[in-house]
Amino acid sequence: MSKPAIETGSTDNASTDTASADSTSTATRRARTAKDPKNPKAAKDRHPEEPAHTPEYVLEARDVSKHFTVRGALGRTTVVHAVEDATVRLKPGQILALVGESGSGKTTLARMLARFHEPTSGEIVLRGEAVSRSGRARRGYHSEVQLIFQDPFGSLNPMHRVRYNLDRALRLHHRHLTAAEREERTTQLLERVSLTPAAEFAAKFPHELSGGQRQRVVIARALAVEPKVLLGDEPISMLDVSIRLEMLNLLQRLRTEDGLALLYITHDIASARYLCDDIAVMYAGQMVESGPKEAVIASPQHPYTKLLIESSPDPERGVGDREAFFAGADELGEPPSLIDPPTGCRFHPRCPFAMKECGEQAPPRAELGDGHWAKCWLHARGRAGELADTTHAAATAARREALQGAS
């Protein structure tokens, strides 16, 4: 499955070809690479293997795991299982939201996709080709995949003007542009992210900009590369509430205008619902449920998704309801240790529906149609209907009473 040599060939072409800006559809580029005489292997390998697969997904993480080894003060080493067998797939023009609580491995997954970390196992696949680890391939990879950092106050060098950031990106990825062309492109990019007058913003230092403006510069810098995939690592969480919607609309526009694929990482269900097409839910480093956003939000099929959705603020809930609703908040338990994760389903210590097998064996993946799936024993045991009938809080209360009755 691994074809490391191919990557460099196709992306080098990509970075020189994107100059024509308008005509860089995936298909033409692939045709060109396939004909490339220096790369006969690419032409031979691609079509017989998974012919339908390549055009469909632009970026995939296949069963990737990341384990960090931590050395203690006394020389003891512990392994943190940050991400375990996660699979993410992005189609061109698709926005996938990755939700989960803090420490569930969302950011680690994004950083693996941005290639800051190498996966411990599994592979990152760009356009159907596993990416190699060489430095040259990395640059090619980053001309297609760019990450937007969470903190716009940290991701711009305070010593450089806005112009420098964009100019470097253009210079590195579009080598043949002249200085005047780069200047023009810089203006276009700034206008694209609504930083006008562009000339004025180009001359500013990051400290002269607000958080939202900085984040736009960061997005403009990523766009200067002309990537096919943007990875947003909680891109709006550090921003003022009043400008979040603007940023979401900007991302939405980039998707519709350029067909960018976007991985939107967040713990804000509301913004995920607003922006994305699909939702994937992570818990303790594992994917527990994924599917179209309406299906996942309206009828969550995993107890953790249910908890997550019910605990997001809902203005329609009355004050009295709210108190009743969160009465059991203390009993919700804590996120599990990733050094020594629970056996079986990782959610079972906190799950009000937990059965005997939940603690013993990892649940199988249940396909629920329309790309919606969940990993929960309830589906295998035919108890899935219980999820829809109750709320997480009510189920927790019921379980508590049952346990007290038994003892």
């Binding site: 941005a114 800051f116 640059r139 980053h142 001309s143 760019q146 990450l147 950092f149 903190d151 940290g154 991701s155 711009l156 060098n157 305070p158 010593m159 450089h160 470097r168 990106a169 590195l172 990825h173 960061v218 810098r221 590369v225």
Partner: protein
Amino acid sequence: MRTVFLRSWKVRIGLAVLVFFLLLAVFGPWLTHSVFGLDPRANDTSAISQSPGDGHPLGTNQYGQDMLAQVVAGARGSMYVGVLGAVVGTAIAILVGVPAGFYGGKVDTALNFVTNLFLVMPTLPLVMIVAGYLQGTGLTTIALIIGFFGWSGGARTLRAQAMSIANRDFVRAMRMLGERGRRLVFAEVLPHLTGLIASMFLHAMIGAVMAEAGLAFLGISDSSSISWGTMIQGAQQQSAVLRGLWWWFVPPGLCIALIGTAAALVNFGIDELANPKLRAARPATVRRTKQLARTGGAA
């Protein structure tokens, strides 16, 4: 930024003194020669160990050499050693410390090992051995030796700073953009260290001036060249203190102390610039705050 830097009185005084000595080093010898007609090496046999006065504003030493001319010529020698030693030391510190902190891993292990080695080596005996080994040491050699043995502390500081900057998001972002190692170091990391490096440089300069004086005092220098160090050494050898010839050793000693103070004052300013928390409240701000407090109290 520049004006903020110059607003502090410490910086202004320090810079003025430093500039004065630099000018003295550059133009002084020519000035004393053409204006006063004084030659630092000429022996005026009619005025041996003369106290400051007629014809010799700072007196003469036991060989009848004019002290003013010697102090001025010594400024050139000492400043030359100071600047060259500081340049060499700071350059090595940057070249070793910044890559060590930035790249980490094996590069860090290797470079840090060298740094630690130089840090724990007894510098003075080594300098003496090396200086003694290199027969006929001129001021340049002395400066190079001082620079070569005096960079390790600075390298450690720079390494620590570079390490913390290398892990900041903007470096990661630029790397993701495709920026290569050397450019990352020089365009992204190094600009954040300029304040530190500038203050390190001044510190190294005082260090080199003092080290030169110290080495000369111990007899490790070129006896034919004139620096403040060789002057003090001469005074010591001829028991100037016992004989009360204070004009022989006070002027060069005072000059060394003055340069040290001036460099320290400028350093304060650089520190304040690099670390705003150290910045003292400006008088205008203090006045306004007091006024506000007063009106607030009255109301």
